[in-house]
């Protein structure tokens, strides 16, 4: 069964005067999924949305919607709606008329508009606010009006450009749940833009990580978090320990002066690699019992856990998230499982990476999950 493709980018490039903002972007968006574009400010996330919505056109390559090239389709003829970062509500209209705007433009009859708007306002939990002025709504409420205004048109795809960034933390978390819930109930495809990795991990079916006009990795939140393709992604998605290492052979990597069993392979023997271990995968033990030993430098209480920073004998910095506390100046051991070690080749393309992961990670997982973790070199 092939999924229906809503939007497809094929080798899309976008230039503004001299600056190339998007560089050969290709991806497909399948119907009914929640996609997230994740990347730092200025990497071209909004530009991608503009290309889909039709407010900009590609310098080269094609953007197709439902299989049709969109070159000559103006924004108002696309069944795609946007929720803007600053909401862009119409201050001269009340809540009802804001939501009804799209339907009125389509000259739908009054009764139908009324029932649809009422229904949609209910969906975003704003019933009874119909006659409010926009100026009288709070940030979170405005946000929901903006969502309702887009959703009422029953778009094939909803674009959301950092819609939660203006909200405070609590409201933002609440809206994350609501948006995710809404998307699953309605089955509409969402393309969500954010530079907040936690938000991306919490909400998405699929994350596209961007860097300077390129998509560097696409995958489920788990895949992107557990198997980042390179240092950039590993760093951007959550905090991690990234140390230089050397691949001894398949399933064996050497770093911090020792060789460890891991679940990766497919590199050249003795190839230089980056080794990633997440701070929460490191377990604190007595110095002798540890796979590696670190000297604790600082410790911060972070609420749920302690954040412990230390250095090993080879001079690598390690960050540990632990529910147990230690104290600065002590020498402690760290243990970890082979699955917790993630190896990244330097300058690997996404295709090669995916292929290698496919080939090795799954097979290796079965093989090593019984065996022990560290072995001395």
């Amino acid at each position: 069964m092939t999924e229906e493709i809503i939007v497809s980018f094929d080798q899309v490039e976008k230039k503004y005067e001299k600056e190339t903002v998007l560089k050969t972007i290709s991806f497909d968006l399948e119907k009914g999924k929640f996609y997230t574009l994740l990347g730092p400010s200025g990497c071209g996330k909004s530009t991608i949305l503009n290309l889909i919505a039709g407010f900009a056109s590609p310098s080269s390559g094609t953007v197709s919607i439902l299989g049709k090239d969109t070159r000559d389709t103006p924004p108002n003829k696309r069944k795609i709606n946007t929720v803007f970062q600053d909401y862009a509500l119409f201050p001269h209209l009340n809540v009802f008329d804001n939501v009804a705007f799209g339907l009125k433009m389509k000259k739908m009859n009054k009764e139908k508009i009324k029932s649809k708007v009422t229904e949609t306002l209910k969906l975003v939990r704003l019933e009874g606010f119909e006659n409010r002025d926009i100026a009288e709504m709070s940030g979170g409420q405005k946000q929901r009006v903006a969502i309702a205004r887009a959703l009422v048109n029953e778009p094939d795809l909803l674009l959301l450009d950092e819609p939660l960034s203006a909200l405070d933390l609590k409201l933002r978390t609440e809206m994350q749940y609501e948006l995710r819930d809404l998307q699953q109930r309605l089955g509409i495809t969402f393309l969500f833009v954010t530079h907040d990795q936690e938000e991306a991990l919490a909400m998405s079916d699929e994350i596209m990580v961007m860097k300077e006009g390129r998509i560097v990795q696409t995958g489920t939140p788990n895949a992107v978090y557990d198997e980042p393709i390179n240092r950039y992604v590993a760093d951007f998605i959550g905090e991690s320990n990234i140390v230089r290492g050397r691949m001894v052979r398949d399933y064996a990597v050497s770093f911090a002066g020792k060789t460890f069993t891991c679940v990766d392979g497919g590199m050249q023997p003795d190839e230089q690699v980056d080794v990633v271990i997440r701070p929460e995968d490191l377990v604190l033990t007595e110095a002798e019992a540890g796979d590696i030993q670190i000297f604790v430098q600082t410790q911060l209480f972070r609420g749920v856990h302690y954040e412990i920073m230390g250095q090993d004998d080879a001079g690598n910095d390690w960050m540990v998230h632990s529910t147990r506390q230690s104290e600065p100046g002590r020498r402690v051991g760290l243990t970890f499982d082979p699955q917790d070690i993630h190896i990244m080749r330097i300058n690997e393309t996404e295709e090669a990476f995916d292929e290698r992961i496919e080939q090795f990670a799954t097979a290796a997982y079965e093989k090593t999950s019984k065996g022990g973790a560290g072995q001395d070199d």
């Binding site: 919505a53 407010f55 103006p74 924004p75 108002n76 003829k77 795609i80 709606n81 946007t82 803007f84 600053d86 862009a88 509500l89 119409f90 201050p91 001269h92 209209l93 705007f101 799209g102 009125k104 433009m105 389509k106 002025d133 100026a135 009288e136 709504m137 709070s138 940030g139 409420q141 205004r149 887009a150 048109n153």
Partner: protein, 277 residues
């Protein structure tokens, strides 16, 4: 410090007295029983009733209003379109040039504008009269309208236009259902200013009027030259009252706008907390 403030107040009062004394002097004598402004001999409304019977003056008054209403209306339409045009001009330089051209028209002396219009009309053989005055008034009102409307356009959230197109609005629909409603206060203010300027104008009208057609300001001027008549005082008083009411009307509109703005700047969360359970 206090001393300084006191002097400032005194100065201000003096200036206002200086400015308003002639007007009140004029108004005062419009009720004078004697036909001159030398001596007040008793209260009368005779000059006003004479005014009411002066058919020619009545026609001129009506013409003046007609010119003002019509020229302000047309200037508002053209000026608003012009402002939108300038707003949409992508290139900064072209935008600045257009704006400068607009402002030069605004600050150039009426005499020059009047004289150049006269030149133009005689050159193309346009008959001086109602239409020549109307055209001239439209022309000098357009820059005023542009100046009132443009800031409103720039205040408008440009994303709103994007949002409207995103929601399926055609370019015409964007104009009628987003842009125009957003700049309505500016358009109204522009109309109002154009109207006042038209009523007010003497110099330009003086140049381009002819064929027996006159506006009140021109008529008052020519009558005043012929000699003192308290009818002119009465007429001026009425005009002064009209001006005062116009200004207070304008003030009222602005006040209302300001209140709305204040309302929108209030912390909305306070309200929300009170309303949502």
């Amino acid at each position: 410090m206090k001393q300084k403030q006191k002097w400032a107040t005194v100065y201000l009062v003096l200036v206002f007295i200086l400015l308003y004394t002639p007007i009140f002097y004029l108004i005062f004598y419009s009720f004078n029983e004697a036909g001159t402004m030398n001596q007040f001999s008793g209260f009368t409304l005779n000059h006003y009733s004479a005014l009411a019977e002066d058919a020619r003056l009545l026609i001129i008054a009506l013409d003046t209003v007609r010119i003002a209403l019509l020229s302000a209306l047309i200037a508002t339409v053209i000026g608003t379109a012009g402002a939108i045009g300038i707003y949409y001009t992508r290139q900064r330089r072209a935008q600045n040039v257009l704006l400068s051209l607009n402002n030069i028209l605004l600050v150039s002396p009426d005499v020059i504008i009047g004289a150049s219009f006269l030149l133009l009309f005689t050159l193309v053989g346009f008959q001086l009269g109602f239409y020549s005055v109307l055209l001239a008034h439209i022309a000098f009102s357009i820059p005023i309208v542009v100046l009132m409307v443009l800031p409103k356009l720039e205040d408008m959230n440009a994303n709103m236009i994007t949002a409207a197109r995103d929601l399926g609005a055609s370019p015409i629909q964007v104009l009628t259902s987003v842009i125009l409603p957003s700049i309505t206060p500016g358009i109204l203010a522009g109309y109002f200013m154009a109207f006042t300027f038209s009523i007010d104008d003497f110099a330009v009208t003086f140049f381009v009027t002819g064929g027996g057609f006159a506006t009140l300001s021109v008529e008052i001027y020519s009558r005043a030259r012929q000699g003192v008549s308290l009818e002119i005082n009465a007429l001026s008083t009425l005009l002064f009252l009209v001006a005062v009411s116009l200004v207070s009307g304008y003030y009222f509109i602005q006040q209302q706008q300001r209140n709305r703005k204040k309302l929108s700047q209030l912390d909305p969360t306070v309200h929300e907390k009170a309303v949502t359970p």
